[in-house]
């Protein structure tokens, strides 16, 4: 059964406001089971602290201001790195999708670079930038670049040539053809790239902050490890999960807003 059919089926058996809550049932059950396991001593606090201890640790860090500062630093690095890498990837995707010459010039090179795991560059990046902000931004931008580049390129190349011919017949200029036919046609694929890129963005940032940083969530977790504060380590991991979910939700919202024409995004 296709996605469209699944979405279009009437859902009268479920309350509409329950739709937003139902996704939180599983995480909630996990937290409850975890709390119970810790309270009854099934899981030693040295291995995994109880959720309540994690909350307490979070509250302390919140009061000292460390938590907000570190989240903010990580968030700033993630968004700036994403913006830099994403725009360069998008620009290359556009150029190589629209111009054969540009594609012949750069695509092979980019495909070669793509096959280097970008985290393998960490030693080199530390030598270049030390543990400054540039190091993190460079790694995030590099990681984000490829999914956006590849999916933008793919999106542009798979725009229906019949629609492009139609646009030409009706006298669209190149700019108009891009604005009205090619770009909207490529957009669903660009969003696939964005969602891949968001995942890579967090992964890269956390690894980079764990290895070479003096602030940020990854640094907070590593420092907590030094002092055996396992509750802070677990707190950091949970915050990654929340931030990742937040980024994904943001991109979904953007998708729904811009792709309202798409059958998969239309309300039944």
């Amino acid at each position: 059964m296709s996605l469209v059919e699944t979405l279009a089926r009437p859902r009268t058996w479920r309350l509409p406001q329950a739709d937003g809550l139902i996704q939180w049932i599983v995480p909630l059950v996990i937290v409850v089971v975890w709390q119970a396991a810790s309270s009854f001593g099934l899981v030693p606090a040295r291995v995994l602290p109880a959720p309540s201890d994690v909350v307490v640790a979070g509250w302390k860090l919140l009061q000292s201001g460390d938590l907000v500062r570190n989240i903010w630093v990580s968030f700033w690095r993630a968004s700036v790195g994403f913006a830099i890498g994403g725009s360069i990837g998008f620009a290359f995707g556009l150029a190589n999708g629209l111009s054969g010459l540009s594609a012949r010039l750069s695509d092979t090179t980019l495909q070669m670079v793509r096959n280097i795991p970008h985290l393998a560059l960490i030693p080199l990046v530390i030598l270049w930038f030390g543990i400054d902000e540039q190091a993190k931004l460079f790694l995030v931008a590099l990681g984000v670049f490829f999914p956006i580049y590849l999916n933008t390129l793919h999106g542009i190349r798979t725009v229906d040539p019949q629609l492009i011919e139609m646009g030409r017949i009706y006298g669209m200029s190149n700019l108009e053809l891009f604005r009205r036919v090619i770009f909207p046609g490529a957009l669903p694929s660009v969003f696939v790239g964005v969602r891949f890129a968001l995942g890579i963005m967090w992964l890269t940032l956390i690894v980079a902050e764990t290895i070479a940083a003096s602030s940020g969530l990854g640094y907070m977790a590593m420092q907590a490890r030094e002092f055996m504060q396992i509750d802070v380590v677990v707190l950091s991991i949970l915050i990654y999960a929340l931030l990742g979910k937040l980024a994904d939700s943001a991109s979904r919202l953007l998708e729904r807003l811009t792709l309202s024409w798409h059958p998969a995004f239309q309300k039944a």
Binding site: Q162, L163, E165, M166, G167, I169, Y170, G171, M172, R180, V181, P184, G185, L187, L259, S260, W261, H262, P263, Q266
Partner: protein
Amino acid sequence: MIEALQFLVAEPRPNSFDVDDTSSERAAPPRPETAALPLDLRGLRKSFGDNDVLRGIDLHIPAGQFVTIVGRSGCGKSTLLRLIAGLEAPSAGQIGFGEDKLPGDVRVMFQEPRLLPWARVLANVEIGLGTERSSPDAKARAEAAMIEVGLDDKRGQWPAVLSGGQKQRVALARALVSRPRVLAFDEPLGALDALTRIAMQRLLEDVWRDQGFTAILVTHDVAEAVALADRVLVIEDGRIAKDLLIDLPRPRQRGSAELAALEGEILRDLLKGSEDAFEL
């Protein structure tokens, strides 16, 4: 013009013209606002590599005539249409339109509706205005075209929610909105079911009679060809094998003896070339 449109709204199937009215219209078809262009094809050839698709087409189509082109697959009928529509350049020969044609004078409608899925129906129709789509009356003209094809209530919809026949009607409105003087159809009804196809044939005939453009319709459906055309051309091996005038009053009764006889004659011609294939 508005009266004519309102008439169409009030009676979306104006196939109830009485016969006298019809014959007088055929003698002097109405030419509101625009005048149809005649076509002159001289020594038209087209080859793709070593493959000669069209081998010399000489043809005059008077302004306002409804011509249908039939032929077996690969006979070159679609290529001929693409040449007329200016989508491809001929390898030799030329196509004249009597006078200099302006952009928007010649429009094409394809088998696929080719609507932009990310534009609302009305915006899709506005695209048909070509370079005039930024003019202040663009929206009003697009709305008038929507009324003409009987889809006025769908103007705010996404194309994805329309049926196949409705999408083709939007494509027709987009082709009509610039008041074309020649309208070329490349099997526009080929993908529709039988009933929708008959309704669309009537609609095509109605807008042609209303606007009086020169219509060139490529089809594989011989019944459709004889029902709609003033003139049927049979293409075989890249040449015109048969040029048949159909002088029957409109609207024509589907399944009438005269149409059936003409259909049989053309089908016999089409099958003659492939008798071997049918004798097993």
